[in-house]
């Protein structure tokens, strides 16, 4: 294997090695010294981040063009690794409190992150699928990590059954795509749709040309039209279903509330941010690069899916009393906002999705960290009413949560606002005024249920005494980072935005 191919999968390799090391370490260490596992996991994540430095000048395609290391994959790698670091830091006290095996938890987390990295870098449908499976299998186990708790097992089972159903759709779509195109390379599919040659046809032609029995010219001219349209449409639809499930967009969102509610809270945080971002990465690669919207009007599909997600997520969230469930519905709605930007089908739209993912990761992860901490032993306190008078009992925690909630509403000077702003701007530029009006109406609806949490925290008397443990140093660091990041991105978005724009333009350059 040449070195440059090794470099293109270096982060994944490091993560896999680190995960294996963590697992071995957990087997030999005494239970009390599980902090070492977190240390090794963090070390692995840091090493993976540093290894990205070797990838900085965009690399030539590796592994027979299956992997593309470009600004787009770098952006997502950084996002995934950052998310994983925050999850590791914030889950330590949770794992101790719930007496869960830390080693396995971190190992699975690292495996999932490696899979997500492959998804962002893949230029091949099959490799994307493999990445998705690696991350999904780890996620299934993580969701059921509190195996003595019925809801957690229920969550894992539901996620596994529905998830494998959805990946089956995806795989079937990929198979049909191969049938229609004769390839699973994303860039090749795009070339064929633009009028290039189907590799199988090309091979046959070459063979026939050798035999000297066919005239090459007319066949080549017809090659672009020789794609079986119905088969391709069916395949696009199936792939769309599989990915829409993973980003929990309506109408494929039914699993989300139950899985998010039942899974351990740090895992919920991971699923709602990292896993969703990875699915979006694959989504963008496949649809934005491979499929020419002039031939196949998939933006219409995303339009409908986005509107439905926003309405389903927001309207359902209005009635929730469990905070995890509420955030689950809100995550459906946020997927909808990102789809609004995606519908624009432009580099600006892709950049807006990517910026939104960063903003959403910061604010949603922060919110879930607060929920994790206040949940206490056995996640007893996750009802909205348990947060009564939190603003005065623990001003710092409540202050951070307020920042995250205001950002989720989309109040200016927070990352959430700029995320929405860029998303809506991309859509307005693409003349999707109607869609944007629907989206802002949804933002207004959404502000109601976020406000309800603020009302409970600051304006209601405490009904029962909910114990609040002092937050650990790691937890405070995570909260501080998320809050500072949320505010900073709302005020100075340039570094992230410039990176996102350059990545999006790179992606557009490949199509």
């Amino acid at each position: 294997m040449p070195t440059r191919e090794l470099i293109s999968v270096l982060p994944e390799a490091i993560l896999t090695l680190a995960a294996t090391a963590v697992m071995l370490l957990a087997a030999f260490l005494r239970a009390r010294r599980e902090a070492w596992c977190a240390g090794v996991a963090l070390f692995g994540l840091a090493a993976a981040m540093i290894s990205l430095l070797w990838q900085t000048p965009p690399q030539p395609p590796a592994f027979n063009d299956m992997i593309r290391v470009d600004p787009f994959s770098m952006f997502f790698h950084l996002l995934f690794l950052g998310t994983a670091v925050l999850i590791v830091l914030s889950s330590a006290s949770y794992l101790r409190r719930e007496r869960l095996p830390a080693g396995e938890f971190y190992a699975l987390l690292l495996f999932a992150t490696a899979g997500m990295g492959l998804m962002a870098a893949s230029n091949d449908l099959v490799l994307g699928f493999i990445g998705l499976e690696i991350s999904s299998l780890s996620s299934y186990v993580l969701a059921g990590f509190r195996r003595h708790v019925a809801t957690s097992s229920e969550s894992a089972l539901k996620y596994f059954l529905l998830g494998s159903f959805a990946t089956a759709f995806l795989l079937y779509g990929i198979a049909l795509m191969y049938g229609a195109m004769g390839t699973t390379r994303i860039t090749t599919i795009q070339a064929i749709l633009r009028g290039g040659l189907n590799p199988i046809t090309a091979q046959n032609l070459a063979g026939e040309a050798l035999a000297g029995s066919a005239v090459l010219e007319p066949v080549a001219a017809q090659a672009g039209r020789s794609v079986p349209a119905a088969l391709l449409a069916l395949s696009i639809g199936l792939i769309f279903v599989g990915l829409a499930f993973k980003i929990s967009a309506a109408p494929f969102q039914v699993w989300t509330p139950d899985v998010y509610q039942g899974a351990p809270t740090p895992v919920t945080a991971f699923l709602s941010t990292g896993a969703k971002a990875a699915a979006f990465a694959l989504f963008l690669r496949i649809f934005f690069v491979a499929l020419d919207s002039a031939l196949y009007p998939w933006p219409a599909l995303i339009w409908a899916c986005g509107v439905l997600s926003m309405f389903v997520g927001n309207l359902a969230a209005l009635w929730q009393s469990n905070l995890k469930r509420l955030l689950a519905y809100s995550s459906i709605a946020h997927a909808g906002y990102m789809l609004v930007a995606f519908t624009a089908n432009s580099a600006d739209g892709v950049a807006a999705v990517m910026f939104y993912l960063v903003a959403y990761t910061l604010m949603n992860l922060g919110a879930f960290v607060v929920v994790t901490h206040l949940g206490n032993q056995g996640e007893r306190y996750v009802e909205v009413t348990d947060y009564a008078a939190l603003g005065y009992r623990s001003p710092l925690l409540a202050g951070c949560l307020s920042i995250f909630l205001l950002s989720l509403i989309g109040i200016p000077l927070t990352a959430g606002f700029l995320g929405k702003f860029y998303a809506f701007r991309a859509a307005v530029q693409a003349d999707l005024i109607g869609l944007v009006v629907l989206a802002v109406l949804n933002s207004a609806i959404a502000s109601y249920y976020y406000l309800r949490i603020l009302v409970t925290m600051y304006m209601s008397p405490a009904e029962r005494e909910v114990p609040i443990e002092p937050a650990s140093a790691a937890l405070r660091w995570v909260l501080g980072l998320c809050a500072a990041g949320t505010l900073l991105l709302g005020f100075w978005p340039r570094p992230v935005l410039a990176f996102a724009i350059s990545a999006a333009q790179w992606l557009q350059g490949t199509r």
Binding site: G391, Y392, L406, I411, P412, L413, F417, F421, F424, R425, V428, Q429, I433, V436, V437, V440, L441, S443, A444, S447, Y448, L451, L454, V455, Y458, M459, S460, W492, P493, R494, L497, A498, I501
Partner: protein, 509 residues
Amino acid sequence: MSALLNAVLFLPAAGAVLILLIPRRRPETIRAAALAFSAVTLVLSLPLAFAYEYGAEASTMQFATDVLWMESPAIRYHIGVDGISLFLVLLTTLLTVLSVLISWRSVREHVKEFFFFLLLLETGTIGVFAAVDLFLFYVFWEITLVPMYFLIGIWGYERRVYAAVKFFLFTVVGSLLMLVAIIWLYTAFGTFDSERIFAMMAAGERTLTFLEQFWLFLAFFAAFAIKVPLFPFHTWLPDAHVEAPTAGSVMLAGVLLKMGAYGLLRFCLPMFPDAAHALATPIIVLSLIGIIYGSLVAMVQPDLKKLIAYSSVAHLGFVVLGIFSFQQTAVEGAVYQMLNHGISTGALFLLVGMIYDRLHSRQIRDMGGLATPAPVLATLFLITTLSSIGLPLLNNFVGEFLILLGVLQERVLYAALAATAVVLSAAYMLWMYQRVFLGEVSDRNKVFPDLNRRERGILLAAVALMIIMGIRSPFFLRRMDASTAELLGRAGLRETRVELVVPPGETVP
């Protein structure tokens, strides 16, 4: 780049952050810090008025700062004041000081958070009036929402949560539609800067078709009409006012409502003149309904605060009427009336707050004969009442007179209908005064302490301004001339106009 306006804008926010650092157990220090920061801001804002250059050509933004804030899309940190926004900034700085003072004793719980939000609100509001860039305007516009929401929701009265959430939701729906319009304008003009947009429109580089203007106007109008509030979008106002703490009511009535009228004047008229002219009649009808309906409803309110809240609906109807008459006289009257309403109604809310602190009731039937135990309070209340009615020599008279004068030239019927409100306001205000202060004092109210020094100071400042603005109005109106003229030049003046200049040879001090 003007350091002065930037200091005025961000000093309160700096104070808010500083207050966060003061330990909770030292409320006196927190109060003192809040007072110091708001007072220094007020002092710093005064030179804005005196150093403001006025004259026929001085219509552009003064004390301006214009730097790039974000790229792609280009968002400029462009602030400045002109004759329209100048005094609104001053009004904000003044009312914040009065709000800090009025909350000195009445706010006992969560003192730290209270003054934090109050100072944050000041920065947000000044920002709204000073922003030239549309994106910046929107940012400040939304920023004001959060502190006000908390002020009502935490320190308000019984139904405070309902009122706070209603306030938030009403405002947010309108402002999000405005956001869509702002983004749309960017795609059309390639900039958020309103000055640049005006310049491009004037140069004819990009003009909006009537249909575009129509929809953009409505989107902006949604945000502003809710904020003003114009009938029938006013229902959040009585709730918010009644439930808000005194300082919240003062800021809400004094400056937050002005943001709506200011927005109409600053953006809706000059940017979408054709739509504004086309829609003027329905909007004027709505404001007339608001004037008469607000007055009539105010008349029957048993709750003192609610009465003043509905009178605000009527007064703001007057302002909108003046704006949409497209007469320079009336527009200047409208701007002047915004200031007057801020001071008079602000003072009324302060007075009601003082009565509430003593009586723990806002119901008029619990009062009566209060002039006997509290003559100073009664006198100051009377002056404020008379100012609110529009007695000559006091501030409201000038504004109402100018509006009626301008509207009269446009359509006699409108002026006649609006004039009824002057009569009605005299009726409900004087009747209210009679029920509260005159007659026999009940046994319960025999021990009703009069105003203390702090309260007298607050009110004397307000009353002094009422008198100054009543007799020295040229000082204020002169500074508005050039800006209103230019604004109406963009918005399209009607033919008849009254020159508001001093005849040659005479001087106005």
